[in-house]
Structures are given as structure tokens and as C-alpha cells.
């Protein structure tokens, strides 16, 4: 789906979301009357310091208000922008700041929902979609942490060997199913049904902590994470 | 991974009271050696996990030399090998014994 289609399905009565370069800002009202803030990173564009600071600025502005309006983050990005300038100026701080903005907004009562409808990768994925309280995806989304070609270079394994290994485990290869298996994506929405309904249903369920490791365990993609984290936390509090 | 097991007579029992010692790191040309206590003071059990296949003879020689030189009795040793040279293996084994024999803080 395109952002236009997504927004139309989410906000049938209209919205004020507009593009600023490859970024989106604005808001819409769900059929039930709930106002939702929208930010977005679109068009498979890389996220550099200039994009990150603009996005965090918008999120912090929303977070200031005490009205607990949800924030919907539409994501179709590349990885973080790979350039000398971005690293020179401290891209890690900008991406971390964006993630912190989303997390603090959430702590102040704003639900944060990531909607991954295209690609996203590496640091950009972490600072946007994965920093939301709930991450859902649309069919056809194609997140990747590392592409197989790069992985082949580093592991010195041929791509076909990697592809064969990828069939036995979701833990390293790109793709929506794999990210669902490790618990990174809570649910894949149905593109043929009203996105507004699906978002309203999601917002109606209270969010209860970070359940990604539990999901990863249940779905078989991350067999040890939930248990190990639990054991360490218990040992520290013993 | 190739897994090798050795369980051999060790004339000198290890001293000290520490339950465990860990030396080294799994990196190229390096290895980690985890030393723990067993309840057989006259034997030393060693388990090696290595990606370099086909060097059992060499490990045999290194392990025999180690048990002959160091107080290895009553120890249970687990090794994760990153392709270390025999001299590095010897050094880490010796460091492991020294560490488990150190007085507890």
C-alpha cells in the first residue's frame, strides 16, 4: 500500500497529513473520534541527522501535550544514511534522540504505534519502528537488519549457502516473517480490511510492557531471550 | 564443531578453594578455558569444542604435557577454541590453573 492509500483507509473522514520531503507530518481522526498524530519516514529514504532531528522535533512537540493522543509512525525507509558528514556530526546521538523522544512520549501517556509498510533497516529501523510501543506491519513490508550480500562478505559464505541456512532459522535473514518470528513485529495487519478498525482495536487493548522477547519465544525465533533476561533480572533483585 | 573429550590421570591435585576460573577469550588464534572442580582428585577431564577439525593428536600431546607439568587433578576443564596455536593453549591452561588456585578475595 502507498501512504495515500494507508491514510485513506485509516482516516476515511480525512486527515491533515502532508509530506515534507520524504517525511510525513500531520494528524487524522479515526471513525470512533480518536485523534491520531502521524509522523512518517517514507520512500525508502535513508535516515540521516537532518531527517532524525526533524522527526524528533515533531514527536517532542506532540509529547508536550497531556492529552494522551496516540502517535502513528509510518515507516518505509532505507537504513541510516551512510555518510561521512552524518557520522562526523554524531548520527548515533540523533537516532538515539529520536528513539528517546518516542519512548518518553509513550511514558507520558501517548501510545506509539509503528506501522511498517515498506522497508527499513539497521539503525533507522531501531530509531523509528522499533522504538514504538507497538510495531505492526502490512503484508509486503520488508525489514532487513543486514542484506545477505553484506552478510556473505563478512561471513565468507556464499549467498546460496546463506539462503539454505535461512530456511532453517529466522534468526539472521531479512524479511517480514523472520522479524515476526523473533518477536520484533507484534502483528501483520490485513491490508484488505479497514486499517482504521485494526488501529482502533489495537488502541483499545492496553499495552503491557515490552513483550517482544515473550513473542519471540512463543514464535520460536528467539528461544532464550525471555528466559535469560528474566533470570538476570531475578538474580539482581534476589 | 568438533568435540573432543579427554579424561586422564593427573598425579597432582589442584590447590586453592575457588570453584571456578575463566581465562582467555574466543577469538581468532585464541581460546577460552573454563576451569571447574570435579570430585575425582586424581583425574582431569577436558572437553574441547573447536572449529579446527582433525587435530586430536596435537590436543592429546598438549593435554598430556599440561597434566604432567601442572596441578590438574580434580579439575574439569571446558575449552571453546578459536583456532589457537598449541603454545597458546598451554599458556591458557596454565593460567587457568593459576587462577583457580588464587586465594579468594
Amino acid at each position: 500500500m502507498t501512504p495515500v492509500e494507508i491514510l485513506a483507509s485509516l482516516f476515511p473522514s480525512g486527515h491533515s497529513v502532508s509530506a515534507e520531503g520524504d517525511l510525513l507530518f500531520g494528524q487524522g481522526t479515526l471513525p470512533g473520534g480518536t485523534v491520531v498524530h502521524v509522523v512518517g519516514a517514507t520512500a525508502r529514504a535513508p535516515i540521516g541527522i537532518d531527517q532524525a532531528i526533524r522527526l524528533s522535533g515533531a514527536v517532542l512537540e506532540i509529547a508536550r501535550s497531556d492529552d494522551a493522543t496516540p502517535i502513528l509512525f509510518l515507516v518505509d525507509s532505507a537504513s541510516q544514511r551512510m555518510s561521512r558528514r552524518d557520522e562526523l556530526l554524531g548520527l548515533s546521538e540523533y537516532l538515539a534522540h529520536l528513539a528517546k523522544s518516542l519512548l518518553v512520549a509513550e511514558a507520558r501517556g501517548h501510545r506509539t504505534i509503528g506501522l511498517l509498510y515498506g522497508g527499513s533497516a539497521a539503525g533507522a529501523f531501531i530509531a523509528t519502528a522499533l522504538a514504538c510501543g507497538t510495531l505492526v506491519a502490512l503484508p509486503g513490508a520488508h525489514p532487513e537488519v543486514m542484506d545477505l550480500a553484506s552478510m556473505a562478505r563478512v561471513t565468507k559464505l556464499p549467498i546460496d549457502v546463506l539462503e539454505a541456512k535461512a530456511k532453517t532459522t529466522p534468526v539472521f535473514a531479512p524479511g517480514l516473517d523472520n522479524l515476526v518470528s523473533v518477536g520484533g513485529i507484534a502483528a501483520v495487519w490485513n491490508a484488505d480490511e479497514s486499517l482504521a478498525d485494526q488501529l482502533q482495536a489495537l488502541l483499545a487493548r492496553p499495552r503491557d510492557g515490552d513483550d517482544r522477547a515473550a513473542l519471540g519465544e512463543k514464535r520460536g525465533g528467539r528461544p532464550k531471550s525471555a528466559r535469560i533476561a528474566g533470570e538476570v533480572a531475578a538474580a539482581a533483585q534476589a | 564443531m568438533e568435540i573432543l573429550h579427554f579424561d586422564i590421570a593427573a598425579p597432582t591435585p589442584a590447590g586453592g578453594t575457588r570453584a571456578m576460573a575463566l581465562v582467555g577469550v574466543v577469538a581468532s588464534g585464541n581460546l577460552e578455558v573454563l576451569v571447574e572442580r570435579s570430585d575425582t582428585p586424581d583425574r582431569c577431564a577436558i572437553e574441547i569444542s573447536t572449529a579446527a577439525h582433525g587435530f586430536r593428536d596435537l590436543w592429546d600431546a598438549v593435554v598430556a604435557d599440561f597434566v604432567g607439568r601442572r596441578a590438574a587433578g580434580g579439575l574439569r576443564i571446558a575449552i571453546n577454541d578459536g583456532g589457537a596455536r598449541p603454545d597458546t593453549v598451554s599458556l591458557r591452561l596454565a593460567q587457568g590453573v593459576r587462577m583457580i588456585e588464587e586465594p579468594e578475595a
Binding site: - | 596435537l58 598438549v62 604435557d65 596455536r85 598449541p86 603454545d87 597458546t88 598451554s90 599458556l91 593460567q95
Partner: protein
Amino acid sequence: MRQWNTRKALREERIAAGAGFATGKLVHPETLVDFLEAVLRAGDRVCLEGDNQKQADVLAKGLAAMDPARIHDLHMVQSGVVLPEHLDVFDSGIAKRLDFSYSGPQSARIAKMLFGGKIELGAIHTYLELFARYFVDLTPQVALIAAVSADRHGNLYTGPNTEDTPTVVEATSFGSGLVIAQVGEIVDTLPRVDIPGDQVHFVLDAGKPFYVEPLFTRDPAAMTETQILTAMLAIKGLYQPYGVRRLNHGIGFNTAAIELLLPTYGEKLGLKGKICTHWALNPHPTLIPAIEAGWVEQVHCFGSEVGMEDYLAARPDIFFTGPDGSLRSNRAFSQTAGLYACDMFIGSTLQIDLAGHSSTITANRIAGFGGAPNMGSDARGRRHPSAPWLQAGAEADPDTAAPLRRGRKLVVQIGETFGEGNAPLFVEKLGALELAEKLNLDLAPIMVYADDTTHIVTEEGIANLLLCRTADEREQAIRGVAGFTEIGRGRDKAMVERLRERKIIQRPEDLGIDPLDANRNMLAARSIKDLMLASGGLYRPPSRFRNW
């Protein structure tokens, strides 16, 4: 009537042919290839200057770009086969025959070309030996050399990297050959004159400095505990008992570790002033802490080292420097110093056999020798006594009356029992022998012959071959320090123990060294940055060695 000046006449012809591409002595850079084709003749004996460090790289490129239909079958007589162009000329047929010393970075390709018959090999020499032949039967007809700068008369400034240049020019120019120099710039006044202009016939302004390889920089951060252990063994088991003051070190990590242990471990042993005071050595950055701590009285250098220039200029009491302040290195003289005036050579190798022969040549790599066979050999012409030389001589030959007994240079091979890629240091049969068989050579390319080798140091201990009286003892002494290699595991354990009682083999514990004490905190510098700081900021390491 015989003409007695045909060589000079030929040189005049070459100069006249080259003049069309030059203004005075200055070659027009854009016509370099035409110029070279004009002054060279097919079959010429050519010295293209380049050793393990500096390279006449622009002239090498020009040479490789010539038309092999015009200039072919050259006989290259050069110290180093280092740049790709050095071998390209053989691929294209411009050159045919090769006499050389060193081929580090090209060792795999040169092996392939030798096996493929692309190169007609004269011999692999040690530096001093090849220099000697420049004056006897390998005198170049054309020399292509490199300098820092020239003036309009062709006087050359070679800077700290003088190295082979005076030797090459001496042989070529006074042997009626043609000398062509590439320089980084043309100046009105040189800082100092290293080569007089009347020995130089053409000068090419390359517009940039010649290429130099920082070959002698060993990063202390990469030094292992095992290398430190071998260094401790060498200091306590050899330097101290023999009182070695005049020496040369190889370029490996083990000897670099020795340099870094002098101000710490050496100091603790009370050896300052008693060992390692006079050197024939490239300016190793790892020697900086020892120099700064007052251990070193004098160093003569074969060449310079990238980044060390300002440091060397600031320490003229230690290094040989010109009126301009910069280092004057000279490979031929320093090699002579290493042969005659040093009591010890210690270096690493790739393979040692059961007799004690060593070689850096393996089946697929021909790295050449450089200076090691010269430094690592006993000078039969030596006549001056020194304590280590006499002591080693007495150990080797206790029966001859002292006034008639030759001393012995200490020639020490130091290394770990397993080297890079877990390749064993000790082998039944040297790769050099296999190579000699494959190429039908009269001589296997041995780096240090068994009868020159006096000691072998590994992490397992020191073998003193001077004290061995039979071939069998010698073999077991070598097996006795060969660790877990097949050679080591094949030892006669009882005999090795007997050799240990006679101190032919000394283990770390025999020397009061606990291998577990060998750790990186003992190094006087643990990083390149430490070396830079120890030099007071005078040492400026190349970017590739930095982590700041």
C-alpha cells in the same frame, strides 16, 4: 688497434639520444617513456633502484610502459623486487634475466613467474653480495635511481633514505654507465649533497616524493604474551650471559618485543649499559623507549623509516646525521658494519630444519633474503676480539688454544614454534630445497646456514648449538625447543633431558622465568601512540598505524 673507451663512447651516445627529450639534465616528464626508449638498448644490464623501503617508482612505471618490440631482454640487477612494475617488465618481455636480493610483497607472484619460466634467474643474493657484484661482474649500464631533490646541476639530496643510492651510482657512473635520477622536486640549493652532480646524467622531476614502505614499524599492540616470553628468554639467556653490546635485530615481532623490554625487564636485571649499546639497525620505532631511557649509545642505519625523520634529526648523538640535520643512511656501509662489527644477529625465520638451516622460502613464496644472510653469518675475515665473540668461540671449540681460536658471531633464530596460519617453524625438509629441485638450482636458497646458527629461541626454551658435539646432539637440541610441532613431538625425551643438564637446552624455569609472568604490561610501550608520546611527539606514525 683496440679502442679503450668504448664504454664511455656508448654512454656519450646514450646521453646524446636522451638530450632530445631534456633541457640540460632535466628530462621532460611527459616524454619519459620516449626518453627511456632512446637511452636504453635491448639486452642492457639495468639497475632499477629499490630495496625493501625506497622505490624509484615513477621510473619503474616508465620502464614498464616501454615498447617491448624496441627494448627487450633487459638484465635487471636490483636489490628489491617490490612494485608490481618490477615484475610487469618480465611479463611483457622488456626484461628477461634477474639478479636480486629481496621480494617481500611480490613473493607469491615472483614464485609463480619463476615456475612458469617467465624469469631467467641469476641468483638470489644478500644485499652486500649483490652490491659487491655491481663492482665485479654485474656492473649496470644504466641505473635508475631515486632522490628527494636535485639542483639544476644534477646534485642530489637523498634525505634520510639514502640507502643503496651511493653504491649504485658509484658502480654505474664510474663504470661508464648512465645514471638517471627521479626526484621529488628541483630546488636552487640542496640541504646537503649526497650524490655529486657530475655522477648524474639525467634528472626527472617526478613532482612527488618517491614511494617508501614503512617496513620496520611493528605495532606494540599486536605483540603477544608468547612473543614477550621469547624476548625475556633472549635477554636473560643470551644478551646477559654473553654481554652483547654490538648487534643487529631482524624486523619481526619477537625482536621488537626485546627492544620494548629493555627499559623494563632489562632495567630490572640491571643490564643498562651492559647490553645493546651499539647497533647496526634501521630506525625501529620500537627502539624509541630504550633510546629515551639512555640505553643506546649509537645506531647506524641501512635506511630510514617513515615517520621517524624528525626524531632522528633531534637525536644526532645517537644517529648519523648530515649538516642539514637529517639522517644519513647507507645500506652498504651498515651491512658491512653488521657483518664485521656486530657480535650478534637475532632474527626470525619461517622454517628451520633438523640441522639448523633456516629459510624464509616456502613452496609458494620466494621472499628473498635482504640483509639477513650477511648479518646472520660469521665473518671469516674478522680479527678484532670482543668478549661475546671470544666466549662463543670458546664454547664451539674448547680444545684449540685461545690465541689461535676464532671467535664466533652469535647468530640467533628466534620465533614461536607455530607461526602465521599455525604453520610449524620446524620442518623435516625446507621449502627451499623443494624449490631448488623444482627450478633445478645449484644452490637451495638458504637464509642462514646451519653452521652459522648458534642459538634457537622459542617459547619452549633456548637451544645452544655451539655446545653440541655431534649431529645427533644438534638434532635433539633443535627438537627439544620445537614445542608441539611434529619435529618437537618426535624428540628423544631422555636425550633432551641430558642436553638440558649440559645447558645445551635451557627452559624458562632453568633461567628463573615463569612463563605466566610474560604479559603485555612489561612492554615499555603498548601502542604506536605510546611510542609517539615516548618520542616527545617527534615520531609521526603513518596514518595506517594510528588509532587516534
